[in-house]
Structures are given as C-alpha cells and as structure tokens.
Symmetry: C2
Subunit: 337 residues, 2 copies
C-alpha cells in the first residue's frame, strides 16, 4: 500500500528518486537510450519502490523520440497563446517533454523557417495555434513527418482540432443574466467576419428568441462606448443587460454607462467574454465574463500530440471544449457553488 | 558585385537556395554533421554564388551544438517575457536556433524539472528572465554545463546580465514634460520595495531638484485613482504633470482626472512607463509612455548567449540598455524629429 495513496506516482517522481532527468528515467524504464547499467538499475528500483506504473503516454516515450514538441503561433500579443502554452507545458513537462515556442506572426517565410528548424530537430509533434479559430496559419502543415494538433486555429478538415465552444459559452452568459431576472438583454460584439462572433450571436439569438438584438462593431473599448451612446440615444426602452463579445468591449460599455450615471450592476448587468485578467479585473466594477478555458485546451492539445506521437489512434475532427462563467461584480448575483 | 548590395546574405538565404534547413546548411559549410556529399556540395555552391560570408556567430555553429536555447521565465503574465521572447527568437531564428520556452512560475521544483529537461536536450545556452530585475529565479543556474545570460531578472554578480536603464527612461520622461513647459511634475509610482521604483524615483528627483514629490503605492489603476484623489484633495497648488511608474497607474490617473473634469493633456500632462500596448493605447487619451525596449533586450540576450556558446569571451556584469519615449496624446506635444 502506498504511503500517499491519493497521489499518482509520476515519471518525475521516479526520476527525482533516482537522481536522473525525466528523459533518462523514461529511457531506463523502456530499456532504450545510452546509460550505465548501474543507472538503469537505479531507475528501475526507484520505479519499483515507488509503485510507478507507466501509463500509455509514458510507454510511448520510447527510442527515437526527441522529447520536444513545437508550438507554432501567430498570436504575437500572447493573449490566447500564453494560457494555451501554460496548459501544453503542464501536460508535457512531467513526461520530460520540452516545448519550442515559435512566434511566426503572419509571415509565411518566417513560419517556414520555424517549421524547418523544428523538423530538423525531430520534434515529436507540432501544436498549431493562433489568434482566431477561422483562419489557417500562413504555412502548410499537412504531410509533415510528425503529427500536428490544431488548437485555437483552423486546421484541415481531416485534422485533430481543438476549439472552445463559443455557442455553449454564449448560452452560459445569457442564462446567467436571465437567472438574475434580466429581460432586455442586448448583445454588443465584434466584427461579423469572425466565425466566433456569429457562433456566439447565434447562440444568443436562440436563447433570447423574440427581442434579440445584436450590434456588430470592433474588438475595442471604443466600440463599447459607441454602442452605449447608440442604445441610450434611442427613444426605446433601455436594455437592463449587455452581453459583450469580448472583455475590451465590456470595459468600454461599463465605463460609458458610469459616465452616463447608469449604475452597473444596479441598473444594467454586463457580461464580457475571454476572462482576460488585465482587462476584466481592472474594470470598475470587475467583469463577470466567460472564460474559454484555454489552459485546459492546451493541456488537451499536449495530451493528444503525445498520443499521436506514441502511435495511438486519435479520431480526427473538431473537438469543442466547454467554456466557464467567471463571476465578478458587473452583473450582481453570487457565484453558484 | 551582388545584385542586392544593401542586403546581407544570411545563412537562411543559403539554406533556401540549396533547399535544406538552416541547421543543415550551417553544418554543410562547417564540414560537420551527417549528409550526402551531394547535399554538402550543393550548399557550398549556393553559399558561393550568393556571396555568403559566415559571421562569427555562424562560425560558432559547429559540431556538438543542438541549435536550441532555453528561455526560462517566471513571468506568467507574459507582459515582459513576450516582447523579450520575440527579440530572442528574432536574433536566433536565422541561425537555425529554436527556443524552448519554460514557464516556471515561482515553483522551484518545476524550475528544476525544466532545467534538467533542457540540459538533457543539450541546449547551447539558457536565457533566464523574469518579472522584476531585483529578484532571482527560484533555481540555481550557476555551475551549469552551458552558458547562461540573465535578461530582466537578477543574476549572480559575475554573470552576464541585461536590464533596461530605468534611470535613463525616467530622465527622458521628465525631460519631455519640462520641454512642454510643465513645472509642477509629481511622480506616482509602485511599491518602494522594487529596485526599479527607486531607480526611477531617484532619477526623477535628480532631474526635478527642489519641489520633487514621489507618491508610492501599488502597480494598479486603483492606485492611480487614489493618488489623484489625494493630490486634488489638498489645498496646495495642483500638479500640471504626473509621471507614473507604469501604464496601469497612468490609466487610473487619466480616468480619475477626467472624472474630476480636469483636462488631459490640456490641464495636466500624464506619462506612463512600460508602453504596454493594451493599456497605453486604450487609455483616453492614449498614453505617452516609456518603452523599455524589451525586444532589443531579447535580441541582445540571444546574441550574447550564442557568442558564449561559440566560446567567445563576453565581459560579465550588468548591461543597461536605453529606454525610449513613445509619444501618444496624454502629454500634448508632437514627436521630436
């Protein structure tokens, strides 16, 4: 019986106990790699005494693996890539896998150089990521010698792709506002040309039914100000809730309402989208918003690319991961346990 | 005479012409690595016809190099690391060097795992980076088998370290305000415990002389609001300029002034620090601010770690790189030159 029965013994526990790196420990257990017999025995004894049971991933870490994965992104701001990267890293680090970060902006030549460099280093796989889910990166990743997983960017139809479920997140936002008794909920969002905008607006319309109203604009605070000026300049009854397409718009909306003497959340509840901490937490009052769970998306991308690298079969297609409502103070209401 | 005399021929031009990766091209030219004679000849002919002259860095790319560098950071937000990473990548990519990004948060165990993984992959060097220049990362990087360069984090005294020149940046901010005729310039900044805060405040005091006034607080918009409430609640003559320790404070100051009916920049000029686009550009009016040139800092770190990896001698000590005033609209005035 293990001393710590609730904690799974991981490869790095074995590595630490044996005083070797994770990669060395893995190679030792798989009878691959170059090392002294003494080292190999020490690792095996450590594994045995700790009760280590290699999982499918760990079994995949066999010979001819470089223990590296490349993360390719054109999201130079890092707004989406950073949480994703954190998740990827979390999924891979205890397998001894390190991540090359390749920021390619929108430059095809630069992208090609990075991809060549990664292939040259025999990465075990590539995770392609971006700043919107309906655009491909400016580089062709089909027919590479290594597996590719697409996360928060558009991949070919037969690829393994991960995105957050925009419609589900939008539904959560509307449901929360309705549960607070809001009845005139307007949706102020980004450009119609973004797939995620139409996905969110569609789910909003489906939830609201009659009386749904969508204002399209840009992804900016400025647009939040303009939308409020437009809505409050009309003769019609004012909204009692505004569901915004991102946190920047929501911040503009909240500031514009305050400047008009409209109380948030007293008179109007506001929900954002993204849970971009720097914007959401600094808004007065701080934003209730939808988190796309990009870190979990990154973890899943890491797990999938390792599975593919280990030769496992992964069903192709688009996987949609659920979003999560993060409750701060811009709606009123208290967190649901 | 070259067809494009103004453009230096780089190793990746050679690689492209020969249809091989940068690393392969480099190895071919250095008579190292494994490849067919035909490939090696093709690369050499391409180099010759393009007039390629390998520089010191390229000559350093010899056998036993992994063409990888690790970037270790505890700046999970990515605020400082992302521009730095962009610079590092820019300096290295055309040398065929890829960058492992290792986000270690403030977790010594995680840091150790990442460092072991990098050493195991025989990185050519490590760049250590962080979120403040007066704290060491939670891992000992001395006595490693590979060179280490410290960029925007504290290193040992005998290390090669790069930081932005806070005092110089502070001087630029004050000089700009004075050139606009401002005479009552107050400095509203972050916690006294940050070395960069004292560095900036010291330079501010030295520039202003008599009448200098520093208000210490937190790195937040909220503190900007509080500082304005304090200053405008006093009987004394009001400031005609506020130099802020970061852009978040500056945004709070600008918002608080507007809410009091004080015109920015009409009545009061405001300068920020960081040039953090998402904050500086969204402020109304957009912030004039000091840019720490972190991308250039990253480029220099990349160049230095490659030089060290190539066995070149690099003088240890702290290198301070100049900041740059970025003029938007919160001060009035027009860009110089």
């Amino acid at each position: 019986m293990s001393v710590l029965p609730t904690k799974r013994v991981r490869i790095y526990d074995v590595a630490q106990a044996a005083g070797v790196s994770v990669a060395t420990a893995s190679k030792a257990l798989n009878d691959t790699g170059r090392m002294t017999d003494e080292t190999r025995s020490r690792v095996k004894e450590a594994a045995s005494s700790l009760g280590f049971r290699p999982n499918a991933m760990a079994r995949g870490l066999i010979q001819r693996r470089s223990f590296t994965v490349g993360l390719l992104t054109n999201d130079t701001y890092g707004r989406f890539t950073l949480p994703l990267m954190a998740g990827v890293s979390e999924a891979l680090v205890d397998q001894g896998v390190s991540v090359f970060l390749c920021a390619i902006e929108d430059d095809p030549a630069l992208a090609k150089i990075h991809v060549d460099a990664m292939l040259d280093k025999q990465v075990d796989g590539i995770i392609a990521s971006g700043k919107r889910i309906d655009r491909q990166l400016p580089v062709d990743l089909t027919n590479l010698s290594v597996p590719v997983v697409y996360a928060f960017t558009k991949g070919p139809d037969d690829a393994v792709s991960l995105v957050s479920d925009d419609a589900e997140g939008s539904g959560e936002a509307v449901e929360w506002l309705q549960s607070l008794g809001r009845q005139r909920i307007v949706h102020v969002t980004g450009p119609k040309t973004f797939a995620s905008v139409e996905e969110r607006a569609g789910a909003y319309r489906a939830s609201i039914g009659e009386g749904a109203r969508v204002l399209y604009g840009t992804w900016s605070e400025q647009w939040g100000h303009e939308a409020v000026a437009q809505l409050w300049g009309e003769a019609a009854e004012k909204p009692d809730a505004i569901f915004c397409g991102n946190d920047q718009i929501a911040r503009g909306v909240v500031d514009a309402l305050r400047e008009r003497g409209v109380a948030v959340p007293g008179d109007v509840s506001v929900v954002g989208f993204d849970n971009w901490e720097i914007v959401a937490a600094a808004t007065r009052p701080p934003l209730t918003t939808i988190d796309m769970n990009l870190k979990e998306l990154g973890r899943e991308a890491g797990r999938l690319v390792l599975a593919l690298a280990a030769g496992e079969t992964v069903e192709p297609g688009i996987r949609k991961l659920p979003c999560q409502l993060v409750i701060r103070q811009s709606c009123g209401g208290v967190p649901r346990s």
